[in-house]
Subunit: 225 residues, 2 copies
């Protein structure tokens, strides 16, 4: 059952007021005490690998669903389903981002009332997804070491709209020129509230603190419901 | 002079027929015997570093100009200008791609009649830039090793529209799980004509063959003019 991945062909949203639609979805999930995390990054920064690490830490203590957005493949949802967590694949049909109405189509397929946490893997793109509120409770992004420490200068909106930044692939820090202190200062200049955590999806390093962030935020969300 | 970087604030295109505008720009450049390469990739794949290596090989034998598109910084154009090649920075103001009319605004600022080659560094994004003809003579993209060998499966349009694929950061091949043969097969399945070259912008490996590709294509373009 769990390794059969449902694939949803997302319909392009015709709604003009995305913010209103996003707020509606957020209120529905609040009532259901379901925390939705919108996870964004460049292609290849490690979204799926990080999700798999998060699931390792949390799947025994909460009910989790994963929505994997991709233009045209199902490889990510299949990987998640193999870990024993319910996953659906959203096919965006060439779209470069998800908006609230598109996210809602995925949420509609998961029986979210029984879920504590839904992780949405957005399309791999540092530009467009930052412009659209998906209705998520919180937003996170991954910056990977090989991408370079100048990315906050080049994609400032993305770094401004997120609550959590995971700096991934720290196992290869010695191999690349990457100034960790400079990148943290650049992020905090744009977004003083952002929580920044260093991780390696390859080795698992740092995911105990990521799991802590999730526990705290999922609990907070429940209390506010 | 060369290290003063001109910054152009790009106006959003209002033209509906991008293909027509692109063809018009291509014809203008053909008449001028100026070859325009549109270079695309994910954020952090190494567009600017690869351009610097290409300039090392070619700047003594042809007249080159570089246009660096970025949402909101000038760091790339400044790096290019330091190498002694004319560079202008295009500020896209949040846009996720360049279209032909936007490219034309940059071309207008370069005195292209006296240039043999213009390299356009597109916005770092594997989705949207693939959908818009910029008017370039040829299209190229960079896939970097840390991004993973599954990218052609996930961003098929990008891999379908390019003439040249540079596989960059091969100096760290041993460090990442990356199946070079598999990725080449995936690219050629989508795009049998694509030329694929392995390079390292860090070490300079492979850029003699990239320079050969440019010489051949710039000459071909001149002959067809």
């Amino acid at each position: 059952m769990m390794d059969q991945v449902k694939v949803i062909e997302i319909q392009k949203s015709v709604l003009e007021n995305n913010d209103q639609e996003a707020e509606k979805l957020r209120q529905k999930l609040r009532k259901e005490k379901t925390f939705l995390l919108n996870l964004m990054s460049s292609p290849g920064a490690g979204k799926t690998s990080c999700i798999l690490r998060i699931l390792e830490h949390l799947k025994a203590e909460m009910q989790i669903g994963v929505m994997e957005a991709d233009i045209d493949s199902s490889v990510d949802a299949e990987k998640v389903a193999q870990s024993g967590v319910e996953a659906i694949q959203l096919h965006t049909g060439g779209m470069c981002h998800l908006d609230a109405a598109m996210t809602e189509q995925g949420i509609h397929q998961l029986d979210t009332e029984r879920l504590d946490l839904v992780i949405l893997e957005n399309v791999g793109n540092l530009v467009c997804p930052a412009e659209f509120d998906t209705g998520a409770s919180k937003n996170a992004m991954i910056l990977s070491i090989p991408e370079g420490d100048d990315k906050p200068l080049k994609y400032p909106l993305m770094f401004s709209v997120v609550d959590l930044v995971l700096i991934n692939k720290i196992d290869c820090l010695d191999y690349f020129e990457f100034d960790m202190q400079a990148v943290k200062e650049r992020i905090h200049t744009l977004n003083p509230q952002a929580v920044i955590l260093e991780v390696s999806a390859r080795t698992g390093e740092g995911f105990d603190r990521v799991a802590e962030w999730f526990r705290k935020n999922v609990n907070q969300w429940r209390k506010e419901s």
